[in-house]
C-alpha cells in the first residue's frame, strides 16, 4: 500500500519550486504562464493536502512524525528537520492551500496591470508566502515552526512593500516586519527556555501521549512553564496582531488587496492561534497564562472593534475587524476552547478572504478608490460582489445559519462557562462587529453613488477569475459552519471537534470541565442572535442613505485616530530610541570612549613634548643635573645605611 505520508514534503516543496521558477525566470515567461504556474503549484499542494486530510480522518490515526535530516546535531542538542502531521495540521493545510489557491486565481486578473517583471515577482512572493506558512504548520518542532514563522514575516514585508516606489508603503512594510520581529524574539526566548528545561524542541518529545516530557510529572503553573508560555504568547501577539503588537496589521493594507486577503485569512495571522493550539498541553498546564491570553484577546477584540466603527477606508475596516476576530480566537484559547478557536480560524478564513477579495473587486471597479465615503450604490452595478459581500457580512456578524455564527458562539459559550463577564464583554464586541460590518456594507453598496462622474462610468462587475473565487468562498462562508453544529441542535453534529479530539484530548483531562446547561445555552444563543440582528438592521438603516458625515469630535475623534496608539508608541519607544542612539553615537562613543582612547594618546604625546624641553642642548645644564643626581644618590646612600 502506498504510504501517502511519503509525499508530505511535496506540499511545501511545490510552492517553493513555484517561487524559484517565478522568481528566477520571470523575465522569460509570459504573464499567463506565471499566473498558471503560481496557481497550479498551490493547487497541487491542495490536492496533496486533501489526500493527507483523508488519511488523517481514518479511524485510529495517530500523529505521524517524519524526520528528514539533521538541522542541528550537537552532542547534547538535536534538532532535526522534521514534519509532524496530525489532525490539526491537516485542517490548517486545507485552509492554507485551499483559500490560498483561490487567492492566487483571483490575483491573476487583479494584478494584470503590473508589468511582467512585477507580475512574476508578485507571484513568486505569493508562492513563498504559502511555502512559509506550510512550513510553519508542518514543522515537527518549534525551530521549524520558527522558520515558517519568520518566513511569513518576511513575505508580508515583501508583499506589503510590493509597490516599493512609494515610501509610505515601505514604512508600513518595515513596521510589519519589525513588530513581528519583536514578537519573534519572545518566541525565540520561549524556545530557548523550553530547550534549557526539556532539552528538546520536538512536539513529539514534548507532547506525545505515551512518552511526552510534558505529560510526566509536570506540575501545573510552574514558573518556568508560565514563563515559556508567556514568551511564546508574546510571539503570537506579534504574528496574530494582538495588543500590544497589533498596529502593524492595519498598516499592512498598503499591499495589494489579494495579499491582504492572504495575510488575514489563510496565512500569517492564524499562525499565533495555530502555535497555541499546537502547544495546548503546555498552555493547559499554565492556567495563569491562559488568563492573560483571554484578557488580551478580549481587550483586543473590543479595542479593534471600536476603532473599526469609525474607519473610512474599506480595507482598514476589514483590517481592524480581523484584529478583533483574532481577539475572539485568543479568547477561545484562553478559556480552553481550543477546538472552537480552530473552528473560528476556519470560518474566519472563508469569510475574511471573501470580504477582502470582495473589497478588492470594489476597489478594482472604483479604479483604486478605497474611501467608503466616496462609494455608495454599487450594489446595482456589481451584483455578484454585492451578494457575496453580503453573505460574508452575515457570516462575520454571527447570524445563523452562516458559518460565523457557529464558531463565534462556541467561543462565547465557552467564555460564559469560564466567567459570565467575559461573555458579556465578548457579546458587546460582536454587536460592534455587526454594526461596523453593516455600516460598511451600507456605505459601499446601498444609497447613492458619491464618487466622481468618471468613476461612475468605470464601475463594472469584475471578470470571472475574480467572481468565481468570490462565489466559491461565499458558499463556504455560508455553509462552512455545519461541520461544527453544537450538541444542542444535533447529536454528534460537531464533526470538527470529533476530528480534532486526539489533539486536545490530554488538555481536556487537565482543564476543569465546564458544562453549560441546555436552557442557559438556548437563552444565550437567542439573546445574542436577536441583539445582533437588531444591530444589523439599525446600522443598515442608519447608513443606507448616508451623505458625508461631519468631522468627528470627542470620543469619536479618538476612535477615528485609532486611540492614538501609533503616536503613543512613537513617543515612548521609537523617538526615545532614536535619541538614545544619537546620544550613544555622538556623545558616548565619540567623546566618551573614543575620547578616552584618544586622550591616552594625546597625554602621551603631550608628556613627551614636555619632557623634550629638558633636552636643551646646553652642556652646562646636563652637568648640573648630573651633579644634582649624584648628590641625591649620595644623600640616599647616607640615610639608608
Amino acid at each position: 500500500m502506498q504510504d501517502y505520508f511519503d509525499l508530505v514534503y511535496w506540499i511545501p516543496l511545490l510552492p517553493f519550486i513555484g517561487f524559484l521558477i517565478n522568481g528566477l525566470a520571470r523575465k522569460s515567461m509570459s504573464k499567463q504562464l506565471i499566473g498558471l504556474l503560481g496557481s497550479a503549484v498551490i493547487f497541487l499542494s491542495f490536492c496533496l493536502s486533501v489526500i493527507i486530510f483523508l488519511e488523517t480522518t481514518r479511524h485510529g490515526f495517530v500523529a505521524r512524525n517524519i524526520t528528514y535530516f539533521p538541522l542541528i546535531a550537537l552532542d547534547n542538542l538535536s534538532i532535526p528537520f522534521e514534519f509532524q502531521v496530525d489532525q490539526l495540521t491537516s485542517v490548517f493545510l486545507l485552509i492554507i492551500t485551499g483559500v490560498g489557491f483561490l487567492i492566487h486565481v483571483y490575483s491573476i486578473s487583479y494584478m494584470k496591470e503590473e508589468d511582467q517583471s512585477g507580475f512574476g515577482r508578485y507571484f513568486s512572493y505569493l508562492n513563498l508566502f504559502v511555502f512559509s506558512m506550510l512550513l510553519l504548520v508542518l514543522g515537527g518542532n518549534y525551530v521549524i515552526m520558527f522558520m515558517g514563522w519568520e518566513g511569513v514575516g518576511l513575505c508580508s514585508y515583501l508583499l506589503i512593500g510590493f509597490w516599493f516606489k512609494n515610501h509610505e508603503y515601505n514604512y508600513a512594510a518595515k513596521k510589519a516586519f519589525i513588530m513581528n520581529r519583536i514578537g519573534d524574539v519572545g518566541f525565540l526566548l520561549g524556545v530557548f527556555w523550553l530547550i534549557s528545561i526539556f532539552g528538546t524542541a520536538s512536539y513529539h518529545d514534548l507532547f506525545n501521549p505515551e512518552t511526552g516530557k510534558l505529560l510526566s510529572g509536570q506540575t501545573s503553573n510552574s514558573p518556568a512553564l508560565i514563563g515559556i508560555t508567556l514568551l511564546l504568547f508574546l510571539g503570537a501577539t506579534g504574528k496574530s496582531a494582538q495588543i500590544p503588537l497589533y498596529t502593524w496589521l492595519p498598516d499592512a493594507m498598503a499591499g495589494p488587496t489579494p495579499v491582504s486577503a492572504l495575510i488575514h485569512a489563510a496565512t500569517m495571522v492564524t499562525a499565533g492561534i495555530y502555535m497555541i493550539a499546537r502547544s495546548n498541553i503546555m498552555y493547559s498546564l499554565a492556567p495563569a497564562t491562559m488568563i492573560v491570553i483571554a484578557i488580551v484577546g478580549l481587550a483586543t477584540a473590543i479595542l479593534a472593534a471600536l476603532i473599526a466603527l469609525k474607519q473610512n477606508d474599506i480595507k482598514k475596516v476589514l483590517a481592524y475587524s480581523t484584529v478583533s476576530q483574532l481577539g475572539y480566537m485568543f479568547l477561545g484559547l484562553g478559556v480552553g476552547a481550543y477546538t472552537a478557536s480552530v473552528f473560528h480560524v476556519m470560518t474566519h478564513a472563508f469569510f475574511k478572504a471573501l470580504l477582502f477579495l470582495g473589497a478588492g473587486s470594489v476597489i478594482h471597479a472604483m479604479g483604486g478608490e478605497q474611501d467608503i465615503n466616496k462609494m455608495g450604490g454599487l450594489g446595482k452595478k456589481m451584483r455578484i460582489t454585492y451578494i457575496t459581500f453580503f453573505v460574508a457580512c452575515l457570516a462575520i456578524s454571527g447570524i445563523p445559519p452562516f458559518s460565523g455564527f457557529f464558531s463565534k458562539d462556541e467561543i462565547l459559550l465557552a467564555a460564559w462557562a469560564h466567567n459570565p463577564v467575559l461573555y458579556i464583554i465578548g457579546l458587546g464586541g460582536s454587536l460592534l462587529t455587526a454594526f461596523y460590518m453593516f455600516r460598511l456594507l451600507a456605505l459601499t453598496f446601498a444609497g447613492k453613488f458619491r464618487g466622481t462622474e468618471e468613476q461612475l462610468h468605470h464601475v463594472h462587475e469584475s471578470p470571472s477569475t475574480i467572481t468565481i473565487p468570490l462565489i466559491i468562498l461565499a458558499i463556504l462562508a455560508a455553509i462552512g459552519g455545519f461541520v461544527g453544529i453544537p450538541e444542542l441542535f444535533m447529536k454528534d453534529g460537531h464533526k470538527l471537534a470529533e476530528f480534532l479530539d486526539p489533539v486536545f484530548a490530554y488538555s481536556k483531562t487537565i482543564l476543569p470541565a465546564h458544562h453549560v446547561p441546555a436552557q442557559t445555552e438556548i437563552i444565550l444563543l437567542g439573546v445574542s442572535v436577536i441583539l445582533i440582528i437588531a444591530v444589523c438592521i439599525w446600522a443598515w438603516n442608519k447608513y443606507k442613505n448616508h451623505s458625508d458625515g461631519q468631522p468627528a469630535t470627542g470620543f469619536a475623534k479618538a476612535i477615528q485616530n485609532k486611540f492614538y496608539i501609533d503616536e503613543l508608541y512613537d513617543a515612548i519607544v521609537v523617538r526615545p530610541l532614536g535619541r538614545l542612539s544619537l546620544f550613544l553615537g555622538n556623545v558616548i562613543d565619540k567623546s566618551g570612549i573614543d575620547g578616552i582612547v584618544n586622550g591616552v594618546g594625546k597625554s602621551v604625546s603631550y608628556g613627551s613634548r614636555q619632557i623634550r624641553l629638558l633636552q636643551s642642548g646646553k652642556v652646562g645644564t646636563y652637568i648640573l643635573f648630573m651633579v644634582i643626581g649624584i648628590l641625591v644618590l649620595f644623600i640616599i646612600q647616607m640615610f639608608t645605611k
Binding site: 642642548g617 646646553k618 652642556v619 652646562g620 652637568i623 648640573l624 651633579v627
Partner: protein, 109 residues
C-alpha cells in the same frame, strides 16, 4: 687617619672643578676646571694606594701599585685631551672670535 686629609683636599678640588665647569663660560677656564677634577681624582688614587700599602703590609705590593698605574693612565689621557681640546678651542676662536661655550651651540639643531 692621615688619608682623611687627602680625601678632604681631593673633594675640595673636585668641587672647585665642578663649580667652575658649571658657572664659567670661558672655555679655557672650563677646560682647566676639568683638569682640576681629573687631578683631584689622581690625588685620591695615590692617597688610597698609599693607604692600602700601609694597611696590607708588604704582602703583595703590586696590588697597591695598581692605583698608581691608573694615575699615569689618567695623566696620559689628560694630556691627549688637552692637546685635542686646546686645538678645538683655537679653531673655535679662529672661526668665531670667541671662546664662550654658550655661543657655539649651533650644532644642536
Amino acid at each position: 687617619m692621615e688619608t682623611g686629609w687627602y680625601i678632604y683636599l681631593s673633594v675640595i678640588l673636585f668641587s672647585i672643578g665642578i663649580i667652575g665647569v658649571l658657572t664659567r663660560r670661558n672655555s679655557i677656564v672650563v677646560f682647566m676646571c676639568i683638569e682640576l677634577m681629573l687631578n683631584s681624582v689622581n690625588l685620591l688614587l695615590v692617597a688610597f694606594s698609599k693607604m692600602h700599602l700601609a694597611g696590607a703590609g708588604a704582602a703583595d705590593p703590586l696590588v697597591a701599585i695598581n692605583a698608581q698605574l691608573f694615575v699615569f693612565f689618567i695623566m696620559i689621557v689628560a694630556a691627549a685631551e688637552v692637546s685635542v681640546g686646546l686645538a678645538i678651542i683655537v679653531m673655535m676662536y679662529r672661526n668665531t672670535h670667541s671662546i664662550d661655550i654658550d655661543f657655539l651651540n649651533r650644532l644642536k639643531n
